[in-house]
């Protein structure tokens, strides 16, 4: 049973969550609890707040990932000790365990470690002794050769879900339950579509795709582990008795349907015309652009490739990084051609100074990145549905009639996405939700 930040946020919430655990035990199960850090962004013990303690020392100095991991893990350690004590106050024997104590062994990638293995014997021992283990989510240990002790690592985004699924697999659990503050997987963000129904069953693929496209439900890593080990996975609400959503393998769900509408965060759409680039250099030029994006770990959405131009969207958070990297970036190709990037239409300081410096070497060619800020991506997710004739027409026609500009589209086996102005997001989500009959989906 995994409880997210809002489920352990207050004394009352923890009490409610603890009663769920006790109820499971009373039904004859041996519950193992996984907890996230207390609260969400901005709250005193939330992961972001803890990170701020390091970053605030000197924003110009990037903290070491190892120190960050050690600090971030404190949020879950606090939470597990407090939750274990809450259970004890309710008369239940419980024990808090760090990820390493629960047997979670990872690789050495601080901040985004992968679980290499789980040795659940410690947990089994605790269960045999009649204790309810309360495990810190989001963390494990990296054992380095012969060095004494082990390095604490964190599992990256969705780390607590991954912890729960991983422990479920290692313990061959009857089920893994992810508790949150909504009733399960919804057909749309309930803040935009009030009364959006809760889906009773979704496939692992659907839930992974929904998460990939921006919804915060179950992390794809957690879904994948549950799928591989055939562990039933549920999403439930800590604060209601709703039965929740069961996440099932693809063959258990033969139907075709539109699953829901999801949306990403804030995006910036970046385009560059390759017109100024000599035709002979375009392939190499484009390859260099993507190589640079990869080198700087920039995550891309909505990639658009053509012989005349390139286009992609990046998150608002990564956009300043992109500008830092590209504005004034010099791309020499062959013996005689020098290209200089400029972020935006108007001459930037970075590009101008590079152009000036490079003049003695020939005539550098400026390539401007056209930037459209304030975008977002709205996606229709479907199971075995996107290959039907007319889906694109249906979506684009609705947006056209509602005067919602579509800047670009992209699609896959499970989804169809449109890049739109952020100001139109709520309208677009409601339009697709109503238009595809999602109010009656179960």
């Amino acid at each position: 049973m995994k409880f997210g930040g809002t489920s352990v946020q207050t004394k009352e919430a923890r009490h409610t969550a603890a009663l769920k655990v006790i109820s499971a035990k009373e039904q004859g199960f041996a519950p193992v609890v996984v907890v996230s850090a207390i609260g969400r962004k901005g709250e005193p013990y939330a992961t972001d707040t803890l990170i701020g303690l390091l970053r605030d020392i000197d924003p110009a100095v990037e903290p070491d990932p190892r120190e960050l991991d050690l600090l971030m893990a404190c949020g879950e350690i606090l939470s597990s000790a407090i939750f274990a004590h809450t259970l004890k106050t309710l008369g239940q024997p419980a024990i808090s365990l760090r990820g390493g104590q629960a047997g979670i062994r990872t690789d050495g990638c601080y901040g985004n470690a992968r679980i290499l293995g789980i040795n659940p014997l410690g947990l089994m021992e605790a269960l045999k002794r009649g204790l309810i283990p309360v495990v810190c989510g989001f963390q494990g240990v990296w054992v380095q050769g012969r060095l004494p002790g082990a390095e604490l690592t964190t599992l990256g985004r969705g780390g607590s879900d991954t912890t729960a699924s991983g422990l479920g697999a290692a313990l061959r659990a009857e089920r893994v339950e992810i508790y949150t503050d909504v009733d399960g997987v919804k057909t749309a963000d309930p803040r935009m579509v009030s009364g959006a129904p809760t889906l009773r069953q979704v496939t692992y693929d659907e839930v992974a795709e929904v998460a990939h496209l921006g919804a915060k439900v179950v992390h794809p890593r957690a879904a994948e582990i549950a799928m591989r080990f055939d562990i039933p996975l549920w999403v439930k609400n800590t604060f209601s008795e709703d039965p929740g959503t069961e996440i099932v393998p693809r063959d258990s769900f033969p139907g075709r349907r539109v699953t829901g509408v999801t949306h990403s965060g804030k995006l910036v759409y970046v385009q560059a015309s390759l017109e100024p680039v000599s035709t002979a250099h375009r392939v190499e030029f484009a390859a260099r652009v993507y190589e640079t994006l990869a080198k700087h770990s920039i995550n891309l959405h909505m990639i658009n490739l053509s012989p005349d131009g390139i286009g992609f969207a990046v998150s608002r958070e990564q956009y300043p990084n992109l500008v830092d990297v590209f504005d004034g970036l010099v791309v020499p190709i062959g013996h005689d051609a020098i290209y200089v990037f400029q972020a935006g239409e108007s001459t930037s300081k970075g590009a101008a100074s590079q152009m000036e410096l490079l003049k003695p070497l020939g005539d550098p060619v400026k390539v401007a990145l056209q930037v459209t800020e304030g975008c977002t991506m709205v996606s229709l997710v479907g199971y075995d549905y996107m290959q039907q004739p007319g889906v694109f027409f249906d979506v684009l026609c609705r947006f056209h009639d509602a005067q919602i500009p579509v800047l670009q589209t992209s699609d896959s086996d499970f989804s169809l996405s449109c890049l739109i102005p952020e100001s139109e997001l709520s309208k677009a989500v409601r339009l697709l939700h109503d238009g595809f009959g999602l109010a009656s989906v179960r």
Binding site: P120, R221, Q387
Partner: protein, 176 residues
Amino acid sequence: MSATSEPFQRSLSVPEEAIAVTETEFEKPRGINRVEIRRGYCTAHVTGLQGEISEARVGVLKTIAEAGISIDFLKLTQGGLSFVAPEGMQEQVAQVLESAKVPFDIKGGRCIVLTFAANMRDEEGLIARVVSEVIGTGVEIDHLGDMHDRVLMVMDAGDGERVARHIEQRLVGAEA
């Protein structure tokens, strides 16, 4: 005596076989793990649409939908749009676009190269790395899409094998 040292009275439903488990290895390794090719597609590029562009695009899509043609990889271009359809429908796509009286170009013999990686979105820079590697081979990518566990690239079927081999050699098993 603390609560934790109290003997637990209930019998627990711990599965016997779980006791025997010592370690379970389950997360897929980071980065690209396999490449697959799907064949039998064509790509159509509609250009030079007249009038209000959004309306003109919707008009083309309506004609295609009414003909019962399933399309993928729709991309909006400067004066039109492009998409992928099953190669078996190439002739029908051409007829439909002709009847819509729009300038177009259609190419058969396309394939989709699928590059799989667990949890693609969290491996920052991975999608860009795949694209950079493929463009670097000199192959022209017609279209590109992504899912939670794969990047899909449409290209000439003659290039598919070469690209798949290149990705396997350069990226499979390599960390992002």
